[in-house]
């Protein structure tokens, strides 16, 4: 698996450099819009997860690379596990690069007086740190979920064919549960204690705003990321083993 991981990283290296640059570019505009920089690591994390899985699948189809790679001393299993290793690594790299960038900006804003009130906006505060960490972990969970959905489809159908089906599949995954809940009347008054749920949700959200809450959420998010990628990898292994290339 190590060989397949290193091969994948070599293939993606130059693209990752471009992606980090693009991520910072997007982050600048998001930060200007929000008047805060807490979203920078989240934006980078999300982009790395999503674009990493999509571009790796796209490269597989370039000049028959996906097929040719299997003539090298790697197995289909290696290819799948390496792909998930790369996706996770890119997501973590995105988060770390974002966090380092936020830290550097915060230190710079504290050390030097920046114009246009930037020093105040970028100044260190425990709330900003909590929000940054929460946004990063939330985006990591979201990014890994999306990667976990699309990657098995890419492994089964290939990137070109999968692109036709992914919008429909994603729509079904996110819309159908709500249609089922609405259609079955589960959400009708009396059937579910919506007030109770909303109260618990509010308590959870209030807890997440505390340092202990952010720590607990981060831990839960990491477990979730590993679990969802693990399940997705298991599915991909089965799908890729049986795929005719």
């Amino acid at each position: 698996m190590k060989r397949a991981f290193l091969i994948e990283m070599t293939v993606l290296k130059s693209y990752v450099r471009q992606l980090v640059g693009l991520g910072f570019f997007v982050s600048i505009f998001v930060s200007i819009g929000m008047q805060r920089i807490v979203s920078v690591p989240g934006v980078l994390t999300m982009m790395m997860f999503m674009m990493g899985s999509m571009s790796a699948a796209a490269y597989d189809e370039q000049s028959g690379w996906g097929l040719f790679r299997l003539t090298m001393p790697v197995s289909r299993r290696d290819v799948v596990l390496a792909r998930y290793g790369v996706i996770l690594s890119l997501g973590v790299v995105g988060a770390l690069v974002g966090l380092v960038a936020v830290a550097v900006l915060t230190v710079a804003a504290t050390a030097v007086e920046l114009p246009a009130g930037l020093s105040a906006a970028l100044a260190f505060s425990p709330e900003n740190m909590q929000a940054t960490l929460f946004a990063s972990m939330f985006c990591m969970a979201m990014g890994s979920t999306i990667s976990s959905i699309v990657t098995p489809i890419y492994f089964r159908l290939g990137q070109t064919k999968a692109t036709q089906y992914i919008p429909m599949i994603v729509l079904l995954i996110f819309i159908v549960p709500f249609l089922v809940l609405g259609g079955t009347g589960v959400l009708d008054a009396g059937s579910v204690h919506l007030e109770g749920i909303m109260r618990v949700l509010a308590e959870v959200l209030a807890f997440i705003e505390t340092p202990a809450g952010v720590a607990a959420f981060s831990g839960a998010a990491l477990v979730f990321v590993l679990a969802v990628l693990g399940i997705s990898a298991t599915v991909s292994l089965k799908l890729y083993e049986s795929r005719e290339l």
Binding site: S63, L70, T71
Partner: protein, 303 residues
């Protein structure tokens, strides 16, 4: 259908009744072998089943029947983790450079270095020099010929024992093709090595192949030593009267009298051109080329 035997030496590739069904095409009981020290040319029309056979041998597709073996290991195991050790010793070149286009030549080497424990960077650098390949050029910017040279340089730089080449000389100019053929000769001269080479350019096989295996519509049509075709056989360029005389003479058994009609005459496949010349000195009989043999076998009629 004729088959040459490879049983005397160590067999590096063995295809035993390879069968694979697709919509509109089937590989049907493909059987042949490649022995140590051999260069085997694998010929056939487009869509005849050459690439499918190569994929089957490399374990890239699941077979419906039969079995392939590479370096003594079942092809089906090549796609599994235990097959990695075997694939270290197999150099593969497909008909295009099968690498993402954005990679530079030096990065392609890095990919191979990650993949093959036996990667020899010095050998690769030497091939780059020999082929005049710039290390900083992206794969997408290489011409088809340059791309094939890069693929060959990679396949020859990891200590492979066996080369499997699918149309590897396609797109190369004649001088580059000769250079590649020289490299393949050098490669196969080392003990324990062999080459399976599919090609449409039969003149390359005339120069280098020890044996020629022909596939058509998913079936092996012939498997013969090249010398048997090129040194012993001939093409008799007949008029109709000559053709009838040859048929009547029984120098070629009637069931084996393969011929191809042209506007200007009839070509007849002669199994022994020297014996033929003695019997029919008035009929011109040329040395058989692989191209002639292919045309007569695939398009010719049997009386």
């Amino acid at each position: 259908m004729s088959f040459a035997s490879s049983e005397s030496a160590d067999v590096l590739i063995k295809a035993s009744g390879l069968t694979k069904h697709y919509d509109g095409f089937s590989l049907q009981g493909v059987t042949f072998a490649v022995a140590e020290g051999e260069v085997v040319g694998f010929v056939g029309k487009n869509g005849a089943g050459k690439s499918t056979t190569i994929k089957a041998l490399l374990g890239l597709i699941k077979l419906d029947g039969g079995a392939g073996a590479v370096l003594g290991h079942d092809s089906a195991t090549l796609s599994h983790p235990e097959g990695a050790r075997i694939k270290e010793q197999v150099g593969v070149v497909f008909d295009t450079i099968s690498m993402p286009g954005h990679l530079k030549v030096s990065e392609v080497a890095r990919v191979y270095e990650c993949a093959f424990a036996t990667w020899d960077q010095r050998a690769f650098q030497s091939y780059l020099g020999r082929f005049e390949l710039p290390a900083d050029k992206a794969v997408k910017d290489l011409s088809r010929g340059m791309g094939m040279k890069l693929s060959l340089a990679c396949a020859l730089s990891h200590g492979a024992q066996l080369l499997i080449l699918d149309e590897a000389t396609a797109g190369l100019d004649p001088m580059a093709r000769d250079e590649v053929l020289d490299l393949l000769r050098e490669f196969v001269a080392e003990p324990g090595r062999a080459v399976l080479m599919s090609s449409h350019i039969t003149s390359d096989l005339d120069k280098i192949a020890d044996r020629v295996v022909c596939i058509d519509a998913g079936r092996i049509v012939f498997d013969r030593y090249k010398d048997e075709i090129c040194d012993q056989m001939g093409v008799a360029r007949c008029r109709v009267a000559d053709f009838e005389a040859i048929a009547a003479s029984s120098i070629i058994p009637e069931r084996e009298l393969v011929y191809l009609r042209h506007d200007y005459g009839i070509d007849v496949l002669v199994p022994d051109r020297f014996a033929f010349a003695e019997n029919f000195p008035q009929v011109p009989c040329d040395r058989m080329t692989i191209d002639d043999y292919l045309a007569l076998t695939l398009k010719g009629g049997v009386r």
